[in-house]
Symmetry: none
Subunit: 263 residues, 2 copies
Amino acid sequence: MLELRLVQGSLLKKVLESIKDLVNDANFDCSSTGFSLQAMDSSHVALVSLLLRAEGFEHYRCDRNISMGMNLGNMSKMLKCAGNDDIITIKADDGSDTVTFMFESPTQDKIADFEMKLMDIDSEHLGIPDAEYQSIVRMPSAEFSRICKDLSSIGDTVVISVTKEGVKFSTAGDIGTANIVLRQNTTVDKPEDAIVIEMKEPVSLSFALRYINSFTKATPLSETLTISLSSELPVVVEYKVAEMGYIRYYLAPKIEEEEDTNV
Amino acid sequence: MLELRLVQGSLLKKVLESIKDLVNDANFDCSSTGFSLQAMDSSHVALVSLLLRAEGFEHYRCDRNISMGMNLGNMSKMLKCAGNDDIITIKADDGSDTVTFMFESPTQDKIADFEMKLMDIDSEHLGIPDAEYQSIVRMPSAEFSRICKDLSSIGDTVVISVTKEGVKFSTAGDIGTANIVLRQNTTVDKPEDAIVIEMKEPVSLSFALRYINSFTKATPLSETLTISLSSELPVVVEYKVAEMGYIRYYLAPKIEEEEDTNV
DNA sequence: CCGAGGGAAT
DNA sequence: ATTCCCTCGG
């Protein structure tokens, strides 16, 4: 028996908007500690890792670990039927092959339940090693999104370079080249506007903008994000989900060929 | 060496939106007095003339006259990467075959530079004679845009007729005819809402709406525009660019055949 | 807060 | 031509 009650239902709606374009089907894993998902994108290049901790739910009951395979497109369709202020409850009976989403309007005047068939999905639980990163950048998520969108109108690869002074995003394409430099800045009015560079070693890596741009679907989840970079390791782009968890996107760097022409 | 710093960068963004659909490639001419462009549209029917005076820039350095051939589509793509509040600097080194656009965010936290290849373009500097016009109409640019859009759903030619009382925009097409009359009106709350007719002689001329409608891309640049009309002369549709210059569109009248059926 | 409409980008 | 985004109105 599973019953997870999330007062801020809009969070779950946003979480699905953040992953459904990247991943078609995935297993949600539910244990006593939380609700999580880990999946490769459909082209098997990027990896998404979601965690919503049990403490973030108003009510959290999960009698035994279960893995529920869902089609994220269909799940997203159902969650779109929840109002942004609705309380969402996820329910599944033991042994059932369905999951139920219940939406309660704030006034309790409207109660909806949507039942969805579960699917069997081969899950490939890639262990994600906890790594030390050479550089970690924290910045406003909207700014990151804007930069990556802008650069993709020029090229299809972004080079992210971190030095102590700041972070540089570069690209090159047929029509020209572009460099956008953000300098470290922690003396801002609102802390979420800060650009914080935590650099152990300078690093410069290339990534396909196509994937980075789909990561930025998570922008509505959090005002800030962190980008963790190390040579030879996949970059980690992390958005916190309120106080209850995170979405992390992993993407392997492109092997540099001629990209270093404009670093 | 060329270095032009424009604090209100959104002006340059809007200027490009105003001409890039009409002209594919053009030379920007830079002299000590200003930054200008003059080009025929790609079908060689309409003419665009842009002037941004040196005084409108915060910093203006142009050591010697140069002509820089640019693809306006690509330039527009790059300028779209500037924020509306950004300060834009245009730079070119002597003898270089590239131009650099630099965008500084208001807070200076973000500095971007975009480099674009210049092109060789045959420029045909048509001298534009300064003419006396029989009638000049000043009116809100949004209203002109709306009228021309509306009329083009009925016909493909607009007849603009000016009398002392007002200005009439007419069209005719398969489904019927349309006449929109604006009477002179200077007693308005906001001066930019005025409709001012400066008539020496009544005039009535026909124009292809297709071109007029692409002129109205400049509507965001200015609340008002002027339409200068004389028989046998191209109409001039002028939008002021803040305090620093203008965009003028020239279009020859259609020779009237059967259009007088609904004048 | 939601839905519809319009404009822009691909 | 389609889809997405953003703005406006209820």
